[in-house]
């Protein structure tokens, strides 16, 4: 039997899901092995293959990994040098000057990924149009290479001013480095990000350079293990932008796989939203330390043009930047807040209840874990209210101490606030929910959307527990809890397609643009995308391409993307002014008269290799029904209520009113009083939530 397998590596666990050609689903959770992550994968794969039987053949191996972000965050990138234009070696360290926090004299900038003494300058200078102002001086190139050799670095980033307009000088430098140091990794800025803006381009190229040797070694090690297991299916990796890339492309441009894991969950949600015909969905992914919100429109993920690695969680709105390493490549747009199961609950000096962003982590963990935690967490609050099973999480592997949690909440929260333990616990959950609501509102408000018109898709270990209360407060009436919510990122991998996101600076006045010039530009970027898909092995009929231009009124400080309609260059050009005006009106709420001159600043391409067979199975069976039991749970207004605890299968074919608790191996879904739940034909739990009264 043919198997498609998704592998998602997290900090603690490696999740694997296999879907058979017959629709069968198998899952496996193994401990992650940080020393060499491929070891943990190998253990999980063997378990899955054993379960699938001797005739199992792996046809597809899809992988999300945190190796990119962890390498940056832990400062374990390869020693790297930078070659740049004389006078500008400090661009990497000066950054764009901005800081992410105000009024904090102890805030410190992230350490530059290349130390100053290895930021080497060469004599050369291009003009913005690509013409040569000062020819490249080979003597200075040779001197830089000599320093690099003596420093013993493993990787070199090359970023010269205005190289997006003319790559010649960067190419000459790269050839010289390659000739003198054949074993060194080389990242060249015009190949990674051919766009104007020296700081984003330099930073992105340097991140790529410092990751390249690390990611390449990891992928080689993984491939060796796969070969040993006789798995010949091509390995593909999830990119931050939500598309898959071949292992080779990922090794060449590891900067594209940095936020691999969170992207996979949103891609899964998008595929599911498309299947269900949901026009607008907010995703709500809550784990142990943070919660993340994303937006899906018409079955498509939304992307941000850039991200910051290691910036930490947002402060409520994403207006403060500079906390991390800038990576200017498209990434699935996620707003993140520091609220998860392990988030600490306390009162501030003014007596106000606060949740997070500090987390108890795995050690000491929540009070109820009995591992030395003394400060109550969100998980403790959920436990004393009866929402979680004291018999244990993850199928009983962790037993929970309810009375310890009660004592901690009583002493530290309830008594100082003059509330009962239950009121205090529920209050902290509502405070946490308020923090998470800000993330959800951020992704919708930033696009001018009314969140009440969206459905919510809730996943992650804690997402289904909080979904109903958050949706109620936000005025969202429908919640979808997909199958295997706690392993949803691994599942999302199985639904992704191969994608190449290309962009370049392209400055033209729209009223002076001719069809010939447009056609040449389109041909160039389309051929580039097509060539990459061909290299990935896609037949011509499975290759798709969508081109957008970046456009603005002359004098405006920022541009917006406008998707080009299919057609000849003449037809595209004829409709472009109107298309831009309409898009401007959608984004800003107004448009200028057609006489207002428009400027094009860039060109982007999304080239997609699609699969011949549908990615998404017809349905995911809800699993075996487990025996019904009851537990006391506390709800506002009704107090303690004997509440049914059921499995997902018990909801098939009927609509059940809350309160009920749907308990599964990897997550718990809370259906509060007033809400109802059912399971749809695909296998999702669907909650209907009445508006807050």
């Amino acid at each position: 039997m043919n198997l498609r397998i998704g592998i998602d590596i997290g900090g603690t666990f490696t999740d694997l899901i296999a879907i058979g050609a017959d629709g069968s689903v198998r899952t496996c959770k193994t401990a992650s092995t940080p020393a060499d992550y491929s070891a943990g994968i190998s253990v999980g794969l063997q378990a899955l293959l054993r379960a699938a039987g001797p005739d199992a053949v792996v046809t597809d191996l899809l992988h999300a990994t945190t190796i990119g972000s962890n390498t940056i965050l832990e400062g374990k990138g390869a020693p790297t040098a930078l070659i740049t234009t004389r006078g500008f070696r400090d661009v990497l360290e000066i950054r764009d000057l901005r800081m992410p926090r105000l009024y904090d004299i102890n805030w410190t900038k992230p350490v530059p990924l290349v130390p100053r003494e290895l930021r080497l300058e060469v004599d050369e200078k291009l003009r913005p149009d690509g013409s040569v102002r000062l020819p490249l001086d080979p003597v200075t190139v040779a001197a830089a290479i000599k320093t690099i050799r003596e420093a013993g670095v493993q990787s070199v980033a090359i970023c010269l001013l205005h190289s997006y307009a003319n790559p010649a000088h960067e190419n000459v430098v790269a050839s010289a480095v390659r000739a003198m140091l054949p074993d060194i990794s080389i990242s060249v800025s015009h190949a990674i990000l051919p766009e104007a803006g020296e700081y984003p381009r330099t930073s992105t190229t340097v991140i790529n350079a410092t990751l390249q040797p690390v990611v390449r070694a990891y992928l080689q090690s993984l491939q060796t293990r796969l070969n040993a297991m006789g798995i010949v299916a091509p390995l593909r990796l999830m990119q931050s932008n939500g598309g898959l890339a071949s292992a080779r492309a990922a090794a060449d441009t590891p900067a594209r796989i940095v936020e691999s894991g969170p992207a996979a969950g949103v891609v899964g949600a998008a595929a599911l939203a498309a299947r269900l015909g949901e026009a607008r969905v907010v995703t709500f992914d809550m784990g142990g330390t943070t919660a993340k919100a994303g937006l899906i429109e018409a079955g498509q993920v939304t992307r941000a043009a850039a991200q910051e690695i290691g910036a930490g969680v947002m402060a409520g709105a994403r207006l403060l930047v500079g906390g991390g390493y800038l990576l200017k490549l498209p990434a699935i747009d996620l707003a993140e807040v520091g609220a998860g199961g392990g988030s600490l609950c306390r009162l501030d000096a003014g007596g106000a209840p606060k949740v997070g962003p500090l987390s108890a982590g795995a050690l000491p963990g929540p009070v109820c874990y009995g591992r030395g935690g003394t400060i109550p967490t969100i998980t403790d609050c959920n436990l004393v209210l009866g929402y979680l099973d004291p018999a244990g999480l993850a199928g009983g592997t962790i037993r929970l101490d309810t009375s310890a949690a009660r004592v901690a909440i009583a002493r530290q929260l309830a008594e100082p606030m003059g509330l009962s333990v239950e009121q205090a616990a529920l209050g902290m959950l509502r405070v946490a929910a308020a923090t998470m609501m800000r993330a959800i509102r951020a992704v919708s408000v930033e696009r001018g959307l009314d969140v009440r018109a969206c459905a919510m898709m809730a996943f992650g270990g804690n997402g289904p527990l909080f979904a109903a209360s958050i949706a109620r407060e936000l005025g969202i009436s429908r919640i979808i809890v997909p199958p295997m919510p706690g392993l949803f990122s691994a599942f999302g991998l199985l639904l992704a397609e191969t994608e190449h996101h290309l962009s370049r600076t392209w400055r033209k006045r729209l009223d002076q643009l001719t069809p010939e010039v447009l056609q040449d530009a389109l041909d160039e970027i389309l051929i580039d995308g097509d060539r990459r898909l061909a290299q990935d092995g896609f037949e011509p009929e499975l290759r798709q391409a969508g081109v957008s231009v970046m456009a603005r009124y002359i004098g405006q400080s920022s541009e917006i993307p406008v998707a080009l309609a299919p057609g000849t260059a003449e037809e595209i050009l004829a409709g472009l002014s109107e298309a831009f005006g309409a898009e401007h009106n959608r984004v800003y709420g107004f448009r200028a008269p057609a006489t207002e001159p428009v400027e094009l600043t860039g060109l982007t391409l999304l080239a997609r290799g699609t699969s011949a067979v549908p990615r998404l199975p017809e349905r995911i069976p809800p699993g075996a029904a487990h025996p019904l039991f009851h537990r006391n749970a506390w709800f506002e207004g009704s107090g303690w209520v004997e509440t049914s605890v059921i499995g997902r299968a018990a909801l098939v074919g009927r609509t059940v009113p809350g309160p009920i608790i749907v308990q599964e191996y990897d997550a718990t879904c809370l259906v509060p009083p007033g809400a109802t739940a059912t399971v749809d034909p695909f296998g999702n739990i669907c909650l209907a939530v009445p508006a807050a009264g």
């Binding site: 410190t108 100053r116 003494e117 700081y199 709105a317």
Partner: protein, 600 residues
Amino acid sequence: MQSARPDPITAELFRNAIVALADEMALTIYRTAYSGVLKNIMDFSTAICDGQGRLVAQGLSLPGHLASIPSALRACIALFGDDIAPGDILIMNDPYSGGMHLPDIFIFRPFLHPAVEGETSGPMAWAATVCHHTDVGGRVPGSNASDSTEIFAEGLCIPPLKLFAAGQPNTTLLRMIERNVRLPKRVMGDLRAQLAACEIGIRGMADLVARHGPEATLALMGETMDHSERLVRHCLAELPDGEAMFTDWIDDDQIDAGKPIKLVCTVRKHGEKMVFDWTGSSPQVKGAINNTWSYTAGASYCAAKCVLSINMANNDGVFRAIEVIAPPGTIMNALSPAACAARGLTGFRAADCAFGALAALYPDRVFAASDGGNTGVTIGGTDTSRRPFIYVDFLSGAWGGRPTSDGLDGNTNMFANMASFSIEAIETDNPLEVLDYEMLPDTGGPGKYRGGLSLRRTWRMLADEGILQVRADRATHRPYGLQGGGPGSPSRNVMNPGTPEQVVLSAKLTMTLRQGQVFRHELPGAGGWGDPLTRDAQAVAADLKAEKITRAAAALDYGVMFVGDTLLIDEAATRALRTRIAARGPAPSPAWQPFPGLVA
């Protein structure tokens, strides 16, 4: 109408919601604004205020705006009194009616709730915004010259007026604005962004009232401010009492060239209260660097917030415990018709001065002087095809040494969270070539914790000619060091550097720049913190390796010697040199001139 104190959970949920609402207003401006001033420099603020104009929640924004909105709104409320109806929207930018400088235009929209309207006969709350507009007319593009001498030269002054009355736009006023600014599309676009943000604020308030009821909403707004007040008082009570005065100097105001301008800040801390008293500061000056009260207060609050142990929400509760005294007629609280367009400089320096006074009281919580604020560089003219261009840039760079770590190299000043412009964009949009943008070694004040380094940027003019305007400072009064740390390097303007035609220019200047001429600006370096002889020799070695200091400075400023031309510390020689320098007293190099204003 004050009812019993709301329960803590409800209060926290309300606080979260109203702060989120102010942030959503800020996001709306960010998303819909036209101009780069708003997007790159974030020079705008949003807020929800109560019916009396007290600040309840402020969006993420510029520290300099901390006191601006209530000050301006209260002036409007005082003027209009009961004459506020549903559908009214107010506008104003008059510095002498509670504003800051003319480019900062305020828009206020009242929230009137039917259930309370009858009883209180006034708005229950206000949605408030202020944005720095690209141009408001006047004698120079950008409306920000530092050499104007009266506000009448600085652009269009809008007293408190109704931009909308009962929902109808005031087309007379709109046309007046449109005709009096250089970039009407941009200004009108940014005003639209402000109106959109006010709309979001009003809708959000309606949601909150629908949920909690009007009376509870009023009580919760009160509790939001009371909570911040409790936090501030808690933080202030932790700090020892005391009083300290600090004096600092602005080089000059460009009109009375070479005449230093005195800033004096006295901080008095007693119990749960702190006072910033600016008595003794210079009378208002002829040049356009006069502060209005709210900007001086913003600088004072910014410095205070940096020494408090908790970063609490910005609202009236903070102001209740921190008093700001700025005598009218001084540069810290100017009277009409003083020019004030370039008062940004004085705001930065007021923050430096307030930090200086706080450092005497709380040495372990304050950093040494930073770069003194940004330098404004404007180059305008016509390019070789006779098309007009205007290049406006703000350079900023270094933090002073801190009680536990070095000052930051290449970072925005604490008082303004500004971004830098891209070199490639500058060269694409203007007939200018940028020759370098880099850190300069040996410019950070020496200290146990070194001050941040100076940044320099150098331009070559490619057009036939243009006008160069520079507003810099700290050329004669260098950024001070603290606790034995040395001052940072002075700022410098140089024409044709490194050539026989090299000329060093004054800090503030307006002059013609001709084709081929090269202009260089060097920002000041920041002050050091603590005795440099106690700096970890390994940190000195790391600075030498990174070429942030030279071998000579390692010896002269820090007393650290190396083996030959290696990076290996010569321990014995270092010990001997440090002993010798210490015996000589605290003046081993010219960088050690004690700063004149430092109060022991």
